[in-house]
Amino acid sequence: MSQRKYSAVKDRRTDGDSGLDNLSHWLIHRAARHTPDSLPQRMQEEWLADMAARTSALSRLRFAIGCCWATLVIAHQRPLVRMPVGAAVVAHPNLVRFSRRSSTLFLVVSLHVAVFYGVVSTLSHTHPGAPPPAPLQTREVPVTRPRELLSRLDPQMAQVTLDVHRPELDLNYEPDLSDVAAKFVEEPSHAGTPPASAEPPAHPVRQVQGGPGAGFPDPDDFYPMLSRHLEEQGVATVKVCVAANGRLAADPALMQGTGRARLDEAALKLAKAGSGHYRATTEDGRPVDSCYPLNIRFRLKN
């Protein structure tokens, strides 16, 4: 009971969403009260505590609605669920009524409230001060042919005919490009200096690719317990972008997986945890930013 008081006080502290929170609490009290056997007190306290871990009022309401459903499922599986408290199995008198009528009503009301809350919160977040856009107005423009328009302006002008001669163009002209080609060939000798866009002479750069350095985490520390148990092994290839100081410049990305989601996730965690312990790629002995593939092997040892 003290738990209920605590939760009620805590909920009054939250402002703005108190209406939804009150509804959520009411749903949970109602749902827990209709759990069978010796469960009501326990489920109420457990659900209220777990609901308090949710961050948003809508999430808490979803949780409370789920608890209503959980009550029905628990009641349905009640022959299988005998809690080890030694309590006698007593049928709850209101169970049937709750499952058929009240729960449906609760669900319908809750869904309506959730939808209404979602619509209101969405509308309140979309530029509250901005005026609504003006509706588009369309106007039909009458199409008038040029000659009709001319006859309206001056009836005499409508009788005038214009003779336009087509220009005579010779499109079979073939320019003589020999002079241009000769000039193009001779031009570098006239300039005397190489063009500005010419590249400097190639200078060989000695590049040494980086990799895991001193203090890099041990893959065994990131081997998922379940994968060990299931004897999952494999090699994951992760793309890492390492800055000159040995830290990751971006989140690592999986290039080729092991075929096991757990191991792939562990490989990404390992690559991320190794930030600061990478050897940077060097060019002529100077560390530079670079991206390169990193193979991470998960292998079980006998």
């Binding site: 003290s2 738990q3 605590y6 939760s7 805590k10 469960l39 326990r42 489920m43 306290e45 457990e46 659900w47 209220l48 505590a49 777990d50 308090a52 871990a53 949710r54 979803r62 949780f63 609605i65 789920g66 608890c67 209503c68 459903w69 959980a70 499922v73 628990i74 599986q77 299988l80 669920v81 005998r82 809690m83 080890p84 998922p224 317990m225 379940l226 148990h229 299931l230 004897e231 999952e232």
Partner: protein, 101 residues
């Protein structure tokens, strides 16, 4: 107890709950923790927890904190029993054998 163990129905959600506990078998998890790891909704999660507890796979107890000093209500924490650990391991091992064949 043996009969109750056989009564546990292995749905996909049940396997996900067991997987969350097998990640660190000695850790005690609340319903909120399991939801955070598996993403299973409360309407499905709590019946599974109760079912596994009644079958002897889990034991649960209240968190030993003072709600007023902790600033939050105490939670119900679940933990795998040795029976649960063995049975869950057998279940996953059987699935694994099926995949490897």
């Amino acid at each position: 107890m043996a009969k109750q163990e056989r009564d546990v129905r292995m749905s996909l959600q049940t396997l996900r709950v067991l997987e969350a506990f097998l990640e660190s078998p000695t850790e005690r998890l609340s319903g909120a923790d399991v939801h955070q790891r598996c993403g299973i909704a409360s309407g499905t999660l709590y019946p599974i927890l109760l079912r596994l507890e009644s079958a002897g796979w889990f034991v649960s107890q209240w968190e030993s904190i003072d709600p007023s000093s902790a600033g939050r209500p105490r939670r119900r924490l679940y933990r795998l029993t040795s029976t649960g650990l063995r049975r869950a391991s057998d279940v996953f091992a059987s699935f694994n054998r099926g995949v490897l064949v």
